[in-house]
């Protein structure tokens, strides 16, 4: 039986801080399986504890499955034990924790590695059912294609410490990252950037919006969803700016 140890992200946070404010590991979601949850009235306590954690944008809980899905603010490096402790403080028992992280796949010596965007941290990718890094052919094929194309991808899996001391991430799901790049006119200052970023990230399925005043540009990303460029342009227009799809 595979011995799994949940990874503490303290090393990632420390490494990120040492490298500077730009190098922040990009984890979009944390999902925690919660045991002991049986009725709606008890859900509130878990929600309240998780929302108190810095960097948490949203918490959704499914009573039927006992899953607490936490959406993080952009660039947040989560500490897994913080989420587990929050569930305990609510009076319940945390079980498996999974993260969804954005980055790129790299092939190295017949192993597949995953580098988080915004960080130097790498994870050795595992199949979720195997005790070692031998990946099933289908999964390996998908990862090799991603490594060749160097496309950004969101990997959902359980972090753990590998026997050799490496950080491991079992692959539960691979989600393509869709993006739309728009030219934006009318922004005058950083407040416009902040307002537009918030507005775009509130739109359905939008994972992240990177808005640049200097480049007069907005790149909007979605995980495992399709973006409608026309709707995004309308959103920007309603905010008082103008936008068009980049050639």
């Amino acid at each position: 039986m595979r011995k799994m140890q949940l990874l503490s992200f303290n090393a990632i946070v420390l490494g990120s801080l040492l490298l500077g404010a730009q190098a922040r590991a990009e984890v979009s979601h944390v999902s925690i399986a919660v045991d002991g949850l049986g009725c709606p009235f008890c859900v509130y306590g878990i929600e309240k504890q998780l929302k108190h954690i810095d960097g948490v944008k949203k918490v959704d809980i499914e009573l039927k499955t006992g899953l607490a899905l936490v959406t993080l603010e952009n660039g947040v490096s989560p500490n897994i034990s913080t989420f587990q402790n929050a569930v305990k403080k609510a009076g319940f028992t945390p079980r498996e924790v999974q993260i969804t992280a954005v980055g790129k796949v790299q092939a190295k010596n017949d192993e597949m590695h995953f580098s988080l965007r915004g960080s130097d941290e790498k994870y050795l990718l595992f199949d979720k059912d195997s005790a070692n890094a031998d990946l099933p052919p289908e999964l390996k094929g998908q990862l090799l294609k991603l490594a060749e194309s160097q496309s950004l991808v969101a990997v959902t899996g359980t972090p753990h410490s590998h026997a050799q001391g490496q950080n491991g991430l079992s692959v539960e799901k691979l989600s393509p990252l869709a993006s739309v790049a728009l030219s934006v006119n009318g922004m005058a200052c950083e407040m416009c950037v902040a307002r537009l970023t918030q507005l775009l990230e509130e739109q359905k399925d939008v994972y992240q919006a990177r808005v640049s005043l200097a480049d007069k540009r907005a790149v909007i990303e979605a995980i495992d969803a399709t973006l409608n460029a026309d709707e995004l342009i309308k959103t920007i227009s309603d905010a008082g700016f103008s936008a068009s799809i980049e050639p």
Partner: protein
Amino acid sequence: MKTPFKELFPSAVILFFSVIAANAGSITTNTALPVNEGEFIFRGQMKYISSTDDPSPADRELTVWSAPSVLVYGLTEKFTLFGIAPFLDKSLNVNTPLGRRTRGDSGLGDIRVFGRYTLGQWDKPGETLRVGSFAGLELPTGADDVVDSLGRFPQHLQLGSGSWDPFIGAVLTWQTLQWEFDSSVAYKLNTEANGFEIGDVANLDLSYQYRLWPSELGDAVPGYVYGVFESNLIWQDKHEVLGARDPNSGGTTWYLTPGIQYVTKRYIIEGAVQLPVIQDLNGSALKNDYIVTAGFRFNF
């Protein structure tokens, strides 16, 4: 001093002093379900207690409106604090040598404060089994010296006992996504005040709640409708008046209690009726007809 008529303390009246749950689960019993650290729950109830089955010539009719307000606080995930403040309106119609009279009063009753600790917790996906213990004190905050034209009210008609009364108990809860079972035992040691000592009280409460709707769970957190069925067994010792035991007090009462609840993430609304199926009371103690309870709770 012997009164010309007997106004005996109906066993049922003690129910609104019962320890009541606030954090989901049962309506008339306690529960071992957790309260999140730092979370508050407020519970309001309205109870109507009717006791008119009087075997004595006094033909007593006692009605009590009780509105207990409960504030709960999760000090830690295992230790929860409770405070119960009851507002009471008591009215007794009774035959006296001066004719039929109505006596009564309204106001704050005796406040209860207690703590509950989770002793054991066994969690599985969608299921939990927990045991806990609780202990506390009933404070003499209710008026215990009310008088009218007929003199001082008998002790049991006063809003408060005048005494400091400790209590202790244990709870067990087994909850799944479909149903919940709660069991609670408690013992209250009533002490003496104003020459009167109310008999000690022991409670054994059971509760079963079954999710009637939705029949299948979907995504997110739906509201539940629970059908509730509870059992309340109460034993009370005889009162003591100036050191002498009152033969017309105390006894055992068993209630069966059907109810219904609507439970959401932030609030609960509920109602129940307690029907006495057995009232084995001593002497000519006044028997209870029924108790109707309606209430709500919300967390914050």
